[in-house]
Symmetry: C2
Subunit: 354 residues, 2 copies
Amino acid sequence: MTEQDNGRAKRGQRRGARGPTVADVARLAQVSPMTVSRVVNNDPKVHDTTRAKVEKAIAELGYVPNLAARSLAGGRQCRIGLLHSNPSAAYLSEFLVGSTEQANAMGAQLLVEHFEEEASRDALAAKLLSHRVDAVLLPPPLSDDVLLLECINRAGMAMAQVATGAPSPLAHAVTIDDEAAAYALTTRLVGLGHKRIGFIGGAPNQTASALRRNGYRRALDVAGIDADRRLETTGDFTFRSGMDCALALLALEERPSAIFASNDDMAAATIAAAHRMGLDVPRQLSVCGFDDTASATNVWPELTTARQPVADMAREAVRLLVDSVFDAKARTPRHVRVDFSLVLRESDASMRAS
Amino acid sequence: MTEQDNGRAKRGQRRGARGPTVADVARLAQVSPMTVSRVVNNDPKVHDTTRAKVEKAIAELGYVPNLAARSLAGGRQCRIGLLHSNPSAAYLSEFLVGSTEQANAMGAQLLVEHFEEEASRDALAAKLLSHRVDAVLLPPPLSDDVLLLECINRAGMAMAQVATGAPSPLAHAVTIDDEAAAYALTTRLVGLGHKRIGFIGGAPNQTASALRRNGYRRALDVAGIDADRRLETTGDFTFRSGMDCALALLALEERPSAIFASNDDMAAATIAAAHRMGLDVPRQLSVCGFDDTASATNVWPELTTARQPVADMAREAVRLLVDSVFDAKARTPRHVRVDFSLVLRESDASMRAS
DNA sequence: ATCATCTGCGGTAACGCTACCATTTTACAT
DNA sequence: ATGTAAAATGGTAGCGTTACCGCAGATGAT
């Protein structure tokens, strides 16, 4: 008794009151620490009565499991490397919020690492390995870097590709149906009476770009509108590229009355280009974006776009990764598809308005 | 011997090879585990010869300390709550990258939490406490929420305000000289020959807003330009508010030839407003932003602005926080000022051009 | 020469939790 | 009633690290 108290006091001085431990809860609930652990970890082999007692004690003491101790004892420890190379800031922001949240909730550690496309993939893998990274999270455009995927796979780490158009058999993937979203958006434009609809594609090295283009083409096809290849341009998802494409499109002798850009940044650039040429949006030109990132509302008029739930996708990807690190059965790559939704704002209008 | 091997094998099955431990390093270097620990933690009381031996062994084995074990044994464990309420996405993105990086490097855990201004501050503090948060990181606009600061202080957590105009005696603070930056930018506009310079202020509840306004006023004053209060408007850092203010400014009978917006989003809105009114930027209107977030380059023309090193500021704030959690002596609030820089791009031009 | 002091290092005992048995209780078939 | 399995719990032994104390040997003062 005295010894115990002594021990507690000796360490207690270190940092205020250390939180309550399983032992404290166990004492209060009059069960063994093991049972408390089981309750906390949702082990089904605990009687409901006992569980209730323990939960009451937990609530009373405000007990929170010590993550450090848990991962030490469990032998498990999950580090997830989040690799990013210049995606749009708005995209990254949402992605980071979602992934950190989920990683914390699941007791995983998130290492955020910048990766330049020119850098050596092998060096990167080595670096990740040296940081004891168990799994790698790949937002676009890295989710489409096949060489990188292979390299990480060789290094034996789990992976999750987010928003890729080409889920690899080597990795988990979380995507939306890019084709369907582009189809829906283009169809809306057609429904508004537009016949000449320009298209600004994304970076060719991102597989989602092709999917969006397919959706656009299919919508025109279904609507019985002849495809005019001069109306299709290719950017790289940056504002600047969107500006160039839009300018080219608007310089056409038979100018499009609507433009579908493959992401919001390029759509914002399209609006800027239109204004630069003295065109009113949406009266003289309708514009649609894609992603519904912050830049969709940081323009005037605000963009009609397809919402991609980036934070949710990041969360899901982290979940997949953590599961496959902790549970060998969850190791086989899974492909999760989440829903997109259309967000109708003010950048598009009916043809009659012009 | 056999027993040891057995033990290793039994757990080894879980996930590949667990990394090498201090014991492994100690064996190889022929010292005690304690000495290895001392080397890793830069304890000065280690002979150079020994240190070299150990370091060689560490390199050879690719040893990386187990963070979980470390924080468990050390009794130390640092959780930092990062509270954010709708700042610009571009800002948050940079901020998150910087803070996660530093937190990982220092072995702290970062909890990202969204906080609505309408929500109860006491409930928030309780929540943080229940998550065992030791310190709180406050990016704007939360860094200016005095009630929140007091509330967190009462709860006994350390705090760091980032980019506040009013460092509290209760918290660490990392800032730039907002006044000087605004002064520099306005002075540049004056140097370009502008006499009527409009101003779009930030949210009044953020103290940095007033500082930027002061800088603007002082610049005009020093240049001997009479201040015209009609040229000063107040937004709230959002694109939409910037649009409103710019529109009002441009509707003035004596229209300004330049506008200084207190952040990039509002500057982007100003450009949009100008285009909407058929004004060319920068030929007919010069525009300056503030912060140099991603939105500065997501407009055409790209913004001349004052660069605030957001990621670095976040890193510094995390460092301050972790230090004060681990070391009682570092607990007294410190105020760190980092340098800003002017980024000259294409949104401003000499008066003669018009 | 002798004792205090400091440096450099090793041993031991936690830190809070969970894996892995062992044990008790309960349920159900024989 | 008895055995057998399943369910519910407890005991023990670490997980990898660091805090604390202790012990040699070197250094300096007396």
